[in-house]
């Protein structure tokens, strides 16, 4: 009996000290470390690790406890993991949140639990509009941002009839519809396939029969590998130009996609060739550690950690003053790997949208060649719908 009481006392003391230790940062990384989408989650983790290493493990100058949680790319798992981060791990700031559907499931439990959330990849439109929140910062992009640019780029290239395909979930609809909005010509078809579908034979047969001038697709991870290879096998690569967004083809997918992505044009908000000191530092550190170019997933997660670092530093580690911390996040006073970066009133980025093309370097290896900036200082279409409380 006495022993149990002792344990209970110690446990209570430990909890109390954990909750009250204001000079310690408890940072959660919520991402997909298993499942079909874990390619992206693993990249986020790599970007995260490099940022933490460069900061010497002390984010914002504070002793930092990092809690990594796996959402398995599944909304149910994401909600559970979010609740564990709040209830058990008592995190103050959470980052990661790679996909729109898992983010929608996990963001409310985190915000309601009092944590700040810094989304490092997904940018669902609802969170930019009516669903915006004072403690939610999405430092990556709004789902529409990239694809409006690539749609406009397709028009600028003189394509008149385009075929649109995407994955059948929130991000798929938003990215694809944004590309359609940006494109001025005729939409031949708008097709959505289930997230887990990897065989596109039926869809590609329809596509070839429709004979469009250009094709836009939203696929990433394994589905992007399968789509690209089947597009090439059907003899369409090089015959009908293929457009997408940055996650369709990147250094994690190059080995599996091979030459089937050569010449694919994609929009992004970052490229490893962007010429600024923060980006050089990140790309060099990444290459040294992993022996290849980083992806956008890693770059955005690296950036998010640097943003968190700047905000925590600005409030001198006093995390209990949420208003001051929020104001510091809004300023975004850090060197982004994207160069120019600032937050809009809805806490979504105002940033340049780039266009890149998969090309081969002199050694015959695939890389994302920066074509240029398509749109300067782009704001998302939803920020006016957000009534952000002061």
């Amino acid at each position: 009996m006495y022993g149990r009481l002792c344990i209970a006392t110690f446990a209570a003391a430990a909890l109390w000290s954990g909750g009250a230790g204001a000079q310690e940062l408890r940072l959660g990384l919520l991402t997909a470390l298993s499942g079909q989408l874990s390619v992206a989650g693993a990249e986020q983790k790599r970007g995260f690790d490099i940022a933490v290493e460069q900061l010497g493990g002390k984010i914002g100058g504070l002793t930092t406890e990092i809690i990594v949680a796996d959402d398995k790319g599944d909304p149910g798992e994401a909600a559970q993991a979010a609740n564990r981060l709040i209830d058990r791990d008592k995190v103050q700031i959470v980052t990661g949140l790679p996909f729109s559907h898992t983010m929608m499931a996990s963001v409310r439990p985190l915000l309601n639990g009092g944590a700040f959330v810094v989304g490092a990849n997904a940018g669902p439109s609802t969170l930019a509009g009516e669903g915006c929140h004072p403690n939610l910062f999405v430092s990556s992009f709004h789902n529409d941002q990239w694809d409006i640019a690539v749609g406009e780029y397709m028009s600028a290239k003189g394509h008149k009839r385009a075929y649109f395909m995407g994955m059948d979930y929130q991000a798929g609809w938003e990215h694809t519809k944004a590309a359609i909005r940006g494109f001025k010509g005729e939409k031949v078809a708008e097709v959505y396939t289930p997230i887990k579908q990897l065989d596109f034979s039926a869809e590609l047969t329809q596509l070839r029969a429709a004979n469009p001038d250009a094709v836009y697709v939203f696929y990433f991870a394994s589905s992007a590998v399968a789509f690209a290879r089947q597009y090439a096998q059907a003899g369409l690569l090089g015959r009908i130009p293929l457009y997408s967004m940055g996650a369709f083809s990147d250094p994690t997918l190059f080995p599996a996609q091979g030459d089937s992505v050569l010449g694919v044009v994609m929009s992004e908000s970052w490229n490893h060739q962007l010429d600024n000191p923060a980006n050089k530092r990140f790309v060099e550190a990444y290459r040294a550690k992993f022996n290849r170019d980083p992806t956008g997933f890693a770059a955005r997660q690296y950036d998010a950690v640097m943003l968190i670092d700047s905000a925590v530093r600005a409030v001198k580690g006093n995390l209990t003053d949420q208003d001051a911390l929020r104001a510091a996040f809004r300023k975004a006073d850090y060197q982004s790997v994207r160069g120019k970066f600032r937050f809009n009133t809805n806490h979504f980025p105002i940033q340049d949208i780039t266009v890149e093309e998969v090309a081969k370097n002199e050694k015959g290896q695939l890389y994302s060649k920066l074509i240029g900036v398509a749109i300067n200082d782009q704001m998302d279409p939803d920020y006016q719908k957000c009534k952000m409380p002061k």
Binding site: V39, D168, P194, L198, A202, Q206, G235, A256
Partner: protein, 299 residues
């Protein structure tokens, strides 16, 4: 829709159906004859892809890769039967589901440990990388034609073995009345071993042929396993003929559902319905024939 397009979509449906058939044979025989539910069948599909990739990498030969990968899957299946599956014969289906699901998790993690999470690449043999002009305006990928042909050949060979050989007779007898076969003095455990290995090898073969089409990645066997179970239920557990007909039915229906339903009902409803077609078919067939199209009399 133009007739040429319909025909090409039918080709797609048959190709998908034949892949399902290769998987369904194993599941239906293992369940029908051994009365074992084997969820790890999808893992054999996945490992088929990974083994092929690895052997091609080591030997630089596609043909050698295929043979060695098939051998590898066969040996692994025999080992699994010996160590994990055999003690499960006397247990209920729940224990079998738990144990084989455990195997699924184990193999997924093993693949991550050995080859990492990133999707991997299997090159298509260069002679099959082009397209074949089936008829005017339809350039069909040669590789898809080739794997359909291989699957069809395997189907024919299987039919021959089952219908014409002594082993086939024992398998058929086992599917109908397992106990009687045992009472006739046949060593049923050897037949079990053979069936389990055969099922594994066919699933591995399906994985090897699908690998270059899709992405080779951890967990790639699960989505297709679900459809395989649907095929087995529609066809009737234990029946190879049922598996063949149900595979083609599911393959063709799924393909045309994906193409036609969004056209007829609009994108939203059409997509929702096309995801359901196969399951609606299953429910309808079960209402009409609760034990599937060709029920065997086992169990």
């Amino acid at each position: 829709m133009a007739p040429a397009l319909l025909l090409e979509q039918a080709f797609n449906g048959v190709q998908f159906g034949m892949m399902l058939f290769l998987l369904a044979v194993g599941v239906t025989l293992i369940f029908g004859i051994m009365n074992v539910i084997n969820l790890a069948h999808g893992s054999m599909f996945m490992l088929g892809s990974y083994f092929l990739m690895q052997w091609i990498d080591w030997t630089n030969s596609y043909a050698a890769g295929v043979v060695l990968a098939l051998l590898g899957i066969g040996v692994l299946s025999l080992l699994l039967e010996r160590t994990i599956i055999r003690p499960l014969y006397r247990h209920g289906h729940l224990d079998q589901v738990l144990a084989t699901f455990g195997l699924v998790l184990f193999f997924n993690e093993l693949v991550v440990v050995l080859w990492g999470r990133d999707p991997l690449y299997i090159a298509i043999p260069s002679i099959l990388s082009g397209q074949v002009r089936l008829f005017e305006g339809a350039a069909y990928p040669a590789y898809r034609l080739a794997i359909t042909a291989v699957a069809a050949l395997v189907g024919v060979a299987l039919y021959f073995v089952i219908a014409k050989t002594r082993l086939g007779m024992l398998i058929r007898a086992g599917a109908e009345k397992r106990l009687v076969v045992e009472m006739m003095g046949v060593d049923i455990s050897r037949i079990y071993m053979l069936i389990f290995a055969l099922g594994g090898v066919l699933a591995g073969l399906a994985g090897m042929m699908t690998g270059p089409l899709l992405a080779v990645h951890p967990g790639m066997g699960e989505p297709i396993l679900v459809l395989t179970l649907v095929v087995v239920i529609i066809g009737g557990v234990g029946s190879i003929r049922g598996a063949l007909i149900a595979s083609l039915l599911v393959g063709v229906l799924d393909t045309f559902g994906r193409v036609l339903l969004p056209v007829v009902f609009g994108t939203g409803t059409g997509n929702a319905l096309s995801n359901m077609t196969v399951y609606i078919l299953m429910a309808a067939i079960l209402l009409w024939r609760p034990r599937g199209l060709f029920p065997s009399h086992a169990g």
